[in-house]
Assembly symmetry: C2
């Protein structure tokens, strides 16, 4: 039997090397075979009936349904919204990626961009380009800055604790109640308003589900204090882009950092690229790390073989 | 008796308000009297013989020597190099500013700029300006990035622990031996080489003394791994500017963030302003906070009145 690796976004040889190192004797097939640098590896699917395990990021719709003996699907990403959007997705165990490398990378990104707005770095970057030296007589401290995390799963929870260690005044919101040491937590529809009212810098780390799609809209922005900042490192479809532009232009929002977009790559003509209040990064907030991620796959395969329950199994009704 | 406040860099009314709130009945004099917004306050020195306490940032040479009944000098900044450069400085107790607001502001600045280089933010900022979307297939984690702090006093020690909490691989160097939980520490002349050899991102938080002036020079840069980054948030005179430019141009250094300069404001014609590998901020890394700083002054005055030893007293032979 064989493992099928599918991703146009990752460097396949790194993954094949990790998989064969950590799962000696496994046959890894890389699809599509035309992927750069992978021509030395077995090309393409081969006999689909021989594939029992899939490790995938955005496989084409229908591909997984064409594998008659597939037993388990591992997502290369934390979000499985793209997989669940495939109506032919087989009803097999689906495991989302929760691995320390991805979590740590996301926490670094969130801390960097929260600090960047907290300390007015975009302003100082613009002043450097203009050659302007202007000092401050007052500075807000992190303990005076209220950060709010939307989503308190593996990613949101870790980011919240790191921001707390940086002395920010941190709260979090999630669908169901959560407890995190030192973090004020809110939940459900009734908790969202109070959470937003006390948030100067909002960070979205939600899973994308029918309930969370378009959550970052004009109605939500209006509930933030005037001059708040929004950071979206989750999914492009959480954000109503026109509403963000209007809130920036009216001054309701002072800035935004966006790593994800409704269309990626972000089209060259998109107003975000040159908007003075928007920082664009090209979906690089956190990258799944081959070594630690393959450890999760190995653990999952051992659990399956032993009949033990899988961890990070997706609840399809919930969407994550 | 009266307290004299001297600073052209701070908003004097905030300080007068804090001093009168925390020291009821004290007479505060602000010098120079022409300072913006302070004309409502007692103007100028008045009778110099009535001043027994000074709270100062860069007073003109000779001013403090003209106060016959001065008993103690509090510096508004952590570094007292400018005060000690005045040959007429009276031989009175001199207290440097160690207060939580200043420490926290510096730690925020250091974490921001270490994360910024760690995550290639200057590259992504330039790509946004060019409208270029380019993703990554690999990302170094903070735990794989070696940060080194020069100076492990109140500022360096706090920054080191915060970087450690962000999972960086942190080491520190100081003149005399120090112990910090989870931080590899080096000291003295013989410890500097091994410390530099393991440092990818170097942060200077040293006091400026005859021993540390010009410490950031070609010889030091050559001991860092090729492609290292330097962050200077201490004093401009720690850095040999031509040596930094040469190390950036040769590729020995990949980047620098500078908050302090030999001449401030940084002259309009200075090459740092437009250098693609240099981030310039206008001496804003950390600002002494009036409320918490005045608490330190109050504590010092109580100690003097009770004949107890002052804390953060400057050792003039050592220079800090």
């Amino acid at each position: 039997m064989a493992l099928l690796f599918v991703s146009a976004h990752d460097h396949a040889p790194d993954w094949v090397a990790e998989l064969t190192a950590q799962l000696p004797g496994i046959e890894v097939r890389v699809w599509p075979s035309g992927h750069r640098d992978v021509r030395v590896w077995p090309e393409g699917l081969g006999d689909p009936a021989e594939i029992d395990t899939a490790l995938v990021w955005k496989p084409p719709a229908g591909l997984l349904a064409s594998l008659p003996n597939l037993k388990v699907i591992f997502s290369l990403g934390a979000g499985v919204d793209a997989l669940l959007a495939d109506p032919t997705l087989p009803g097999l165990p689906l495991v989302r990626m929760v691995e320390p490398g991805l979590t740590e990378g996301m926490t670094e990104y969130v801390c960097l961009h929260v600090l960047r707005w907290h300390r007015d770095a975009p302003l100082f970057e613009a002043r450097q380009r203009a050659g302007v030296w202007r000092q401050l007589t007052h500075q807000h401290l992190a303990r005076e800055r209220r950060v709010g995390i939307l989503g308190l799963g593996a990613l949101g929870g870790d980011a919240a604790l790191a921001l707390k260690a940086l002395r920010f005044d941190v709260a979090g919101w999630s669908r169901s109640p959560k407890h995190l040491e030192g973090i004020a937590t809110y939940h459900g529809a009734e908790g969202l308003g109070p959470f937003l009212a006390r948030t100067d810098i909002l960070v979205c780390l939600l899973p994308l589900t029918p309930e969370t799609e378009d959550i970052l809209d004009a109605g939500l922005f209006a509930q933030l204090p005037r001059g708040a900042v929004v950071i979206n490192a989750a999914r492009g479809r959480h954000l109503v882009e026109e509403d963000l532009l209007a809130a920036l232009d009216s001054g309701q929002l002072a800035g935004a950092t966006l790593d994800v977009f409704r269309t990626e790559p972000l089209p060259a003509s998109h107003p975000f690229w040159s908007h003075p209040k928007v920082t664009v990064t090209p979906h690089v907030a956190a990258i799944t790390q081959a070594r630690t991620a393959v450890e999760q796959v190995v653990d999952g395969l051992k659990r399956l073989a032993a009949g033990r329950p899988l961890v990070n199994l997706v609840d399809r009704a919930r969407g994550y």
